[in-house]
């Protein structure tokens, strides 16, 4: 039986009948972004409680990466000769993030919140972000988190997690911020019935299984970092690069790619230093003044990108820089699929004489 939750009762897992009730409560406190379907894809748009339209509950991750909220495409980072401090950021919430999005935030945090060199612009936004994640169901063809150590539902890294069930939405608390929110709005929630929790877990398991089945042909024979480290002389990169038109969409849409380009501009009465997303696929990316360029060949740049994701980043931070969201697969109109590239390397390694395998 459902009943109102009283003060002091368990608030870790609760239930709410309608999504809009939850979202309105959030929107009262802070700016809220929710999924919006445009064409075949979801992106995030500002939530407007006055519009009585049913919310697009995104069954899979949005097309656009969460990094947009934390590390915008372009921003001003310094003014000369006067200095600039990052603007105060107001608390904001994003609803509908998926586990792969949360894992991408974990990766970006490693880079931009690194103790010695903390990026103050990233840090201010990150601090103010209220994460309301949701479970995935009905994954799309490119979704492949299970290949890269992920799963279609969250276990950590969220403030609140929402699971859609046949009777309302199970809401799980994942942080102190999330707990504060639920405690403050106890009247909106009810106890989560056991039956719905079982239903949630079943849906999760089903989705996970579906993902594993979808991706079974791409299963690798060895840890992905070992495959890359033993593939430095592989021709696969050059062969695959023939499909690449250097549009750089894969790096822009990737939620973990974080390379950037600093440049200076002249304004009317000041000089500014700007920070803009960059891409290691770009020809002149690593070139120095004078023209030397260690990665003139496209295949080398593709190799570097994958090495960075699966070997270099892993070496430095202990996690891979890929969450298997599949956005790069969706974005590549010429058919390069990261799963196929890795599978080819894996196959190649399997047939390589043992003596040639370094580690």
């Amino acid at each position: 039986m459902k009943h109102q939750i009283n003060q002091g009762q368990r608030v870790e897992i609760v239930s709410i009948s309608k999504l809009n009730i939850l979202l309105d409560a959030v929107a009262e406190q802070m700016e809220l972004y929710t999924p919006k379907k445009i064409g075949d894809h979801y992106t995030f748009a500002k939530y407007d409680s006055s519009i009585e339209t049913p919310l697009d509950f995104n069954n899979i991750r949005a097309y656009t990466p969460i990094k947009e909220f934390l590390f915008p495409l372009r921003e001003l980072v310094a003014i000369f000769p006067e200095s600039v401090e990052p603007d105060e950021v107001k608390p904001f919430a994003v609803f509908g993030l998926k586990n792969c999005d949360l894992r991408s935030i974990e990766i970006l945090d490693k880079v931009f919140l690194e103790e010695e060199f903390q990026d103050p612009f990233y840090q201010r936004r990150r601090e103010k972000l209220f994460i309301i994640s949701t479970d995935c169901f009905d994954p799309t063809e490119s979704c492949c988190c299970t290949l890269f150590g992920g799963q279609p539902f969250t276990q950590s890294g969220f403030d609140l997690n929402v699971s859609k069930t046949s009777d309302g939405f199970i809401t799980e608390v994942g942080s102190n911020k999330g707990r504060d929110f639920v405690e403050k709005h106890l009247r909106l929630f009810t106890d989560a019935p056991e039956a719905l929790l079982i239903e949630r877990d079943k849906t999760r398991a089903k989705t996970q299984k579906q993902l594993e089945q979808n991706n079974s042909e791409y299963e690798l024979d060895a840890p992905v970092n070992k495959i890359l480290e033993n593939s430095t002389d592989s021709e696969v990169f050059d062969i695959e690069s023939q499909k690449c038109v250097e549009c750089q969409a894969c790096t822009r849409i990737c939620p973990t790619c974080h390379c950037f380009y600093l440049y200076d501009t002249r304004q009317k009465d000041y000089f500014a230093k700007m920070n803009m997303w960059d891409s290691c696929i770009r020809m002149a990316y690593a070139a120095v003044a004078g023209g030397a360029n260690p990665r003139k060949v496209l295949g080398d740049r593709i190799k570097h990108r994958l090495m960075h994701k699966f070997s270099f980043f892993f070496d430095r931070y202990g996690i891979e820089m890929c969450v298997g969201c599949g956005r790069c697969i969706d974005a590549d109109s010429h058919g390069m699929d990261i799963r196929v590239v890795l599978k080819k390397l894996s196959e190649e390694l399997r047939t390589k004489p043992k003596a040639e395998i370094a580690k």
Partner: protein
């Protein structure tokens, strides 16, 4: 909150020294005291135009002002070559690891330098000779330039540096002029296995990539281990703190893990000299 990493320190160029037809040295005074270790680099901003990485050529002992030697090769450096003293610039840094001087203690130091690569070497040299007893009273320098006129720090190199006790200096040029009495040939032609006790020496190499490549091969030929060879790598260092990605050599961010590497660290990565 931490300091904004992207904000340069306002600085002024107070003196300009013409070193060669394409190279000038700038005496830069930052608005606040600026500490660096020899071999570390700074990002120099030309307001409104761009930023480029340079290793100061002065001794780190001076925190009031630093000297930066710059070859005309790109947008920012071209503007620098046209500017006058009094020019306002920005400085960020210092970044990277610098030369591990303490690891050199008790060893001879064999320095091979060429062209504008003598800039970081000058800072190192000034640091070493301050305490030359620590390095078995032996700093061996093998410097090269295209022509005699292309040598930077001529006044020091052709004179007082050669007189310092414990310094063994030889110079070479690719192409002599009428007054040149010294060696003609690339820098490896003045390097000799007998110059030092290889087993107890560190080699430091800085110069154009092609020179660094052949000097490294020469050192290996002399019996130096890859761990004994220190290279100042020049890549496209932009942010300075291991995030923007432009300067990566394999897993290393040159800006953060370098710019000084042992050959051992980077030898297995492709195209390190490009």
């Amino acid at each position: 909150m931490n300091r904004n990493l992207y904000q340069p320190i306002n600085s002024e160029i107070i003196e300009i020294i013409d070193e060669s037809p394409t190279i000038r040295s700038y005496v830069v005074v930052p608005e606040e005291p600026f500490k660096f270790e020899t071999g570390q680099f700074v990002e120099l901003t030309w307001p409104g135009v761009g930023e480029a990485p340079f290793t100061p050529s002065s001794s780190p002992a001076n925190t009031e002002k630093m000297e930066i030697t710059i070859m005309k090769v790109g947008h920012v450096t071209e503007l620098l070559h046209e500017c006058e003293k009094g020019q306002k610039i920005g400085i960020r840094g210092p970044y990277g690891n610098g030369y591990p001087i303490d690891d050199f203690i008790g060893k001879q130091v064999y320095i091979v330098g060429g062209g504008v690569g003598l800039a970081p070497i000058r800072s190192l040299f000034l640091t070493l000779i301050d305490r030359i007893e620590d390095f078995n009273k032996s700093v061996v320098c093998r410097f090269g330039a295209r022509t005699p006129d292309d040598f930077i720090y001529k006044e020091a190199i052709f004179g007082p540096w050669q007189e310092i006790e414990g310094v063994d200096m030889k110079l070479t040029v690719d192409k002599a002029d009428d007054n040149w009495k010294g060696n003609v040939g690339v820098v490896t032609t003045i390097c000799n296995e007998q110059d030092v006790d290889v087993s107890n020496t560190v080699a430091v190499i800085c110069g154009p990539p092609i020179m660094m490549k052949f000097a490294t091969l020469k050192m290996l030929e002399f019996g130096f281990k890859p761990t004994q060879i220190y290279l100042s790598m020049e890549k496209n260092m932009s942010c300075g703190f291991g995030k923007c990605g432009h300067c990566m050599i394999g897993k290393y961010y040159v800006c953060k893990d370098g710019p000084v590497f042992t050959y051992e660290q980077i030898k297995d990565y492709p195209n390190i000299w490009d």
